[in-house]
Symmetry: D2
Subunit: 377 residues, 4 copies
């Protein structure tokens, strides 16, 4: 693991997600650019001291030199955005599969380069767009893919948060500080941090691609350097239109990412707040409540849940689904087996490129007086 | 009553709303341009045959000639949009107060003229933007007005319906036919029919005014002549931004108009589906569930409900609130008394003008390549 | 109307319910035992002064003497429980149909006598168990009757309120005072006031009858004279078991009467808080959300709603359904026509007798050391 | 781990719960009475072959002989009910802490003996009443303990399931077979399996104890040997009354265990279906929605969640809370430190005894003609 030392929020989440299913063991780490901090994090995780490294470079080289079966199989990179590209590239080039936190890179240019590295390496690559790991999001995607809703006409996706309603940056709040700092986050704030999740969910569930957009990004809190709020009109490649909004100043909101999609025959609705439920709406018959864990669901939804219906699974299980599917795929590759389609259904380098392109296009559109901006990759 | 004969959906709704509180009696009507139909409607309503008229013109003149106390006090006009202006004008000019179905007129020009007529007449005028009649919408407005949320930053309003997902016009479906006919509805379809409700709700609850907008209107169903779907980015006069969407092709949706508003200190959320509930969200304390009928609510919310908490009131009561408040105001004027502020809190001619301007501006923006269109009245 | 003068909660509700559909006009009343109060109430209602009477006896006799077509057609009796029997009997015996507030009488003996009076009179009689007037409760009854759930196995019904959590009686709170006074309410408090509604709903929706029960009634608030809380185990005549609980000390609850019924094939769930929704649950497929106003519902549900799906109807419309169905039935009888089954579907004298028997049996059981008490009528 | 081999539902759940937080490693197991099956389970879990044992007896003795720091620290026992007592006793007597699946033993007699063994051993013992591991259940208990609701008056707890609506036993359904077999489950079916969870939750959250009860247990599905449904009236040691129902024939229900508690000042409501929410209801002010992960919650609720508000945690995290708290307590004991109160807040041997007493008393009451049965331990 690179980054994610003590007190790092997302590092702890990655570890729970990785460990939960007993398929993955944490064997080494370079948890901080500060060697002392890295060491303390390793102790907290009960790791061998000699596999807690002072830098990712050291880790990759030393692990590479270990005998097969002993070295790490893949590396998780959970650093801030500006430190995504270099360790990913080095890991891939030295023969390690990579799990990388989103957004993929600091800018689109890096993203395109990383894609080439992944392809050359032949290694597996997973980008942790967690929200597509929910079983009912898998089900939604299958329903659309199978034509259950007919041709898709309308896509609404939203991600409201309220935690940046006040000016928190610059002080103790490490999360607020790096996420609002253009030097660490890149050219977008809210849109990069959570807008990309919403964008990825819209494309993942619908199976469509955005072709043009019209964005209104705002800096609501005085003194902030990056957008903390935005709305985006969307056009998709099948002619459907859509709407994406994300905000970090929606005071009182927690993390209620949600999506509604409408087609000729019906619609569907999902929200993280009630993650085990998917509503399926029809023109002239009752709405149906699809629930995780039931035998009437697709193989994709069933594969991605662990408990019988009615025992809620949540965000950590959605995250764990990414890791478990990645681990199954890594093992299949190692053993020369064919990975199941359900295992390979995790976000990858193309999602990452489109996410970075979303950031670039949305920022460009926001500054433009033209209504529509082409979605350029 | 002008229009709203047998089988007219909105006419029946107006009558229930008018009668419910025992403050209003239906005494006469010109229910249809077809005298035979008008007569049958009058019979259905147990009216005196000699007060069922063949045209609104006849009705207004005959009623005017009746002795005071016997003639109607006010007239309800519930015809399609293109027949709003003329009867309203004539009624006002002949001394009758008017209740008029929305949108106010066929176009903005008529709306402005009607405003002059209302002002000259000194008569009361109510435009039936029903959804602002809900007690919890009254409460929401009071909370914002009293600064409970701090400065408003963000307004989301939506009105999804699915009933026009298929091409229904031209056949038996009278509702579908006139609402999609530019000759009867005007230049907008979905935006005129339900977008105006959403727009009115946003301005009513926030107390703010839209200053510019960016619209994406769509004709989704092949062969349709007017927009059946649209999304609009909004800017308000205090600097807040917003988002309005309305659709009649959101398959499986009923009439779930809803609004969320966020300020510096907190947010609020209301949806028609759960009309007796208003959520009040806070930055660092639990969300509160405000419920209709409780003594902790403002005088506005309390005045506009009839039953103790927990006995749901609905759409018809919201509509009846407009009529009851209008009736109280009419009586106060007749008796030379001052109407209470709670009574006068019904939508009027200025709401109507802004609604017609919304239609005009939104259609203009939709056709424009410029991102922002000034909201011109 | 007998009783229900100014400030009487339930009288005002009856009037809204009666007037809403334009089928009923209030023509006379004896609104209070105090003639002065009765007169003021009549003025408030814009009635002719000579049809506002000082007593129900005077009203019945005078109205009887009026020419046909001018006299009242039926009388609504909305007095406290101890004043139900006498005016009902007198009205029926003098040729007037009767609408009576529940519970039907002061005790079971009166109830049985009233049944004889109704049968002898040939007049129509409606007992206002309001909650069975909701369209989705009608739908629930039809689903069970049509065997959709298979043989019924389990019935849960609950009516929690919190308004009597403190000792309110004896002071200004007229509602609290008479409802907790054995001289006015009879032998039961909470069970008579709201337990009977829950009992009626269980039997109405299931089409079954209770055969024995086991009750635990409590006086929770110190100094109170009647039960303010209770739970009852039930056995039904098809072998199903059930559970009824009602409380007026469930602090923070409003009026959330609700019911769940399970059969061999599936279950249903309804709650007043979300009255336009009925959940239909299945063994091995998704739960369905049935919603009022839709064309997929039974004729009973459709007949008892007024607006398109998504416009919520509430308690007052449920109440109005009783009055409208009663009025249609009265008119059919007057005109010598056959009333439709949907019209005659209002609670009557047999419901009243079973309700009074419920009160008697539940109080008997509560005092008994035996587990089961036969349900004796 | 004893029991819980391949295909065992609850064994897999225990493992996820144990592993999730990186505090526990599975080092050995006797996963099945069939040595071949046990071996295969060990391979699936990537265990050393020489620590996969053919019987729990062998495991306990061999592990005991290993050097400190290498032997297991505690044992998880996840066998059917009739195989709880013996391995627990042996493990404790040989110096191992124990985590045991509920209900604690086959009968009350065994439970009492086990308590003595635990006390003599000085070892830690955790009984996996999972549902009390939810952070909002922790919060509920704290609110009651701190007097926020005033004196408790009423407790409703329910656990409806539908999965045994048909006769599934005897065939392939291993879960259905042992749970309905008196030889493996003991004297109760539904009440032992899920009624005990509801009972434990009622006593845990309220801090009260049941003193007498009145039960109606039913065998609804023909041919079944144990109760599959039941309702129980309760009396608590502070004078409060309550109601518990549990059913496995509530067709269409998943696992919606829920609880409502009312006191003098307010009430609370929680349901597993929406596990991250706790409603707090008040007499005269708005209901509050308390949500997991927020800083306004007690230290107990905060300690038992892992993610920021709005990222749902579920059943597996609730289960993991038991394991994590147990592991922290085990480590504290091993290191001679004082365990925090939050760590020691897991269900123990006294909960187990009361659970077994509940089963015995509820079965006794169900057969009795007396209304009330004393709760004898």
């Amino acid at each position: 693991m690179v980054g994610g030392g003590k007190d790092a929020f997302i590092g702890a989440v990655h570890r729970i997600a990785a460990l939960m299913d007993g398929e993955i063991e944490i064997v080494c780490g370079a948890f901080s650019s500060n060697p002392e901090k890295s060491k303390l994090s390793g102790e907290m995780l009960h790791l061998d001291a000699d596999r807690v490294y002072g830098s990712y470079g050291e880790m990759i080289l030393k692990e590479k030199s270990l005998p097969e079966g002993e070295a790490m199989d893949f590396v998780s990179i959970v650093t801030p955005n500006h430190l995504h590209f270099a360790p990913s590239k080095m890991a891939l080039e030295n023969g390690f599969h990579v799990v990388l936190d989103k957004p993929m890179t600091f800018d689109l240019q890096e993203a395109k380069e990383l894609k080439k590295v992944v392809e050359t390496s032949g290694k597996l690559f997973c980008l942790t767009h967690t929200y597509t790991g929910y079983p009912m999001i898998k089900e939604a995607r299958q329903l659309v893919a199978n034509g259950v809703l007919g041709k898709i006409r309308k896509i609404y996706v939203a991600y409201p948060q309220g935690w940046l309603s006040e000016f928190l940056e610059g002080g103790d709040n490490k999360q607020a500080s790096w996420r609002t700092d253009p030097g660490k986050s890149g050219i977008a704030g809210c849109m990069g941090d959570i807008g990309t999740h919403a964008f990825n969910m819209a494309e993942y569930v619908s199976g469509l691609q955005v072709t043009k957009l019209c964005a209104d990004l705002n800096i609501v809190v005085e003194g902030r350097q990056l957008d903390d709020d935005g709305s985006v009109l969307l056009k998709f490649n099948n002619g459907a239109s859509g709407l994406l909004y994300a905000s970090q100043v929606a005071a009182g909101e927690e993390n209620n990412i949600r999506i509604s999609i409408y087609g000729e025959k019906g619609g569907l609705e999902w929200k993280q707040e009630d993650a085990n439920t998917l509503l399926l709406k029809w023109l002239n018959k009752p709405t149906e409540i699809l629930r995780a864990g039931n035998s009437y669901l697709s193989s994709y939804a069933q594969h991605n849940s662990r408990t019988p219906p009615g025992h809620p699974e949540g965000y950590l299980e959605a995250f764990a689904n990414l890791y478990r599917n990645f681990a199954f795929s890594v093992r299949a590759q190692a053993e020369g087996n064919t990975a199941k389609a359900e295992w390979l259904d995790f976000p990858g380098v193309d999602d990452g490129i489109r996410g970075m392109a979303f950031i670039q296009n949305v920022v460009k559109s926001s500054k433009s007086n033209e209504k529509w901006t082409e979605f350029v990759v």
